[in-house]
């Protein structure tokens, strides 16, 4: 346990000073890794913990990004102030679409979420309600400011995204190790037994779906602020696939696994730019090998620790 903390401490320290030694391009790569890590963690609640196959997570990301873009460009509200609004709209959107479909199992739910993602992307492309800017999207989103300091360069965004990622890890770690976290695991393991043990399974499915979507909405806000331009093509099916693969490959239900997944899926392709043509081939092969030799992911979920009294651990009779 202490060894683990030591390793995390070293990684944290290296990442904290890394931008000082990197050019803006590589810092931007790390920013993307961070953003996908946040998205991966939010999807991990739904896919990894609750076992609900969601292949349309980019839709909630998009709802958050567009909420930020529209409210910022039309009303000039600072983007960081819009975080709760983005969480709310993405969460609400998830609640509305999930309500009728959440009882679907496995692949059926998967197909419907793909549909939802595509419908949203096409609606955005067709300038729905005349406020999404059509295929060109929305531009001119203002830079975020923190206490008067304008976040502009990749180096600045690095610390903003890093801070958001740290908060996400901290809160999700606590959420995992709680009544809520256990409840969603129960329904992943055996829905009938969960219901039979007194867990309101439909409530928890909906709750975890909405929570994951709301978090993706907040990531969308940061994304919009970082890019200053957003367009429907940033939220296509491929994005959902990447998020899904990060969770499955990295380790379903495991925070370190998802973080590693984000590094592998978003960071490595940049390191191996020279082999860009072979990227899909390598990903595909890696995916196939993983599914055969290590279905639970590279860093799988570990059993939760509980503060058991010593006497009980020893199993001695009084």
């Amino acid at each position: 346990m202490n060894k683990k903390l030591y390793i995390y401490g070293v990684i944290f320290a290296v990442l904290a000073v890394a931008p000082a030694f990197l050019n803006p391009y590589w810092v931007d790569v790390l920013n993307n890794v961070g953003l996908y890590a946040i998205l991966g963690l939010s999807l991990n609640l739904i896919v990894g913990h609750a076992g609900l196959f969601n292949l349309g997570h980019a839709a909630f990301f998009a709802v958050g990004a567009y909420t930020a873009a529209i409210l910022n460009t039309l009303y000039g509200i600072p983007v960081l102030w819009l975080l709760p609004a983005c969480a709310l709209t993405a969460g609400l959107f998830a609640a509305v679409i999930a309500r009728p479909i959440i009882h679907l199992r496995g692949d059926y739910l998967c197909i419907v979420t793909i549909g939802v993602g595509e419908i949203l992307r096409i609606a955005l492309t067709n300038d729905v309600f005349g406020i999404t800017g059509g295929p060109n999207g929305i531009f001119g989103i203002s830079r975020p400011t923190v206490f008067g300091y304008v976040i502009r360069k990749p180096h600045d965004f690095y610390y903003l995204i890093g801070a958001f990622l740290m908060v996400t890890i901290f809160l999700f770690h606590r959420l995992e190790n709680s009544r809520f976290g256990r409840a969603v695991n129960y329904l992943r393991e055996d829905e009938t037994a969960a219901e039979g043990s007194g867990i309101d399974t439909s409530h928890y499915k909906l709750a975890v779906f909405v929570l994951g979507a709301a978090w993706a909405g907040m990531a969308g806000d940061i994304f919009a602020a970082k890019m200053t331009i957003i367009a429907p093509e940033s939220f296509n099916f491929w994005e959902s696939v990447v998020m899904f693969a990060i969770v499955i490959l990295g380790g379903s239900g495991s925070i370190p696994g998802v973080l590693l997944g984000a590094v592998l899926f978003v960071g490595l392709p940049e390191v191996f730019r020279d082999f860009a043509d072979a990227r899909m081939l390598i990903f595909g092969a890696a995916m196939v090998i993983m599914m055969i030799v290590r279905t639970e992911g590279i860093l799988p979920q570990q059993p939760r620790a509980y503060a058991l009294p010593e006497a009980r651990n020893a199993g001695g009779n009084p």
């Binding site: 256990r182 695991n185 007194g198 709750a207 059993p303 009980r312």
Partner: protein, 253 residues
Amino acid sequence: MSLLGLQNLTKSFGGLMAVNEVSFDVEQGTIVGLIGPNGAGKTTVFNLITGNHRSDRGTIRFEGKDITNWLTHRIVRLGIARTFQTIRLFQNLTVIENVLAGCHCRMNSGSIPAMLRTPGERREEREALARALDDLAFVGLQGQEMQLAKNLSYGSQRLLEIARALASEPRLVILDEPAGGMNGQETEALIGTIRRIQQRGITTLLIEHDMSLVMKACEKIVVLEYGTKIAEGPPEAIQGDPKVIEAYLGMED
């Protein structure tokens, strides 16, 4: 007033009448056995009581309250817990977490208190853990808290299901073939456990094929055949009942 009362409970699957006009009462504090040949509709009766199936007709009352066709988790919260005929544990989770599943409905903290680790949430977690450990020890599985459920022996898995059911602090516990797959020694121990459940003031309704267990443990027995109740009474009366003998052994020519 009886703890649980079934009146004219009926359920058919397509053309098959699985449960047909079944009525019986379970008195507070007793151990009642539900027996019958395979396919008699025993498990269907259990599934109707716990809300896994919706009944076609008839009512189910628990402590005077009509709970017919309630959602399962609400029924558990009201005080009826069950185990399953085919073991349904959370196989990839630890033993202690399986028991904590039962504690869930007696806790209140949601996602936000969990993320903030409020004092109330911490206290609730501590209390639930203590209760879960007590119930594990009650069925004799102390010391195996951190094992994965799937690594337990068959008999231990059955006991773990009982511990999970007890953790929900039920007033009625429904056991579906608790001795299934157990050896003679384990079955003897199980009878002791069922009696100790009774001493805790919890009423038990069980399905069992092991007649030695049923005759020893149960104060009342209800017999089903082809979805219909054919007999009801104390073990001695049931053993001598010609209709029951006929159902189990067939009729003489």
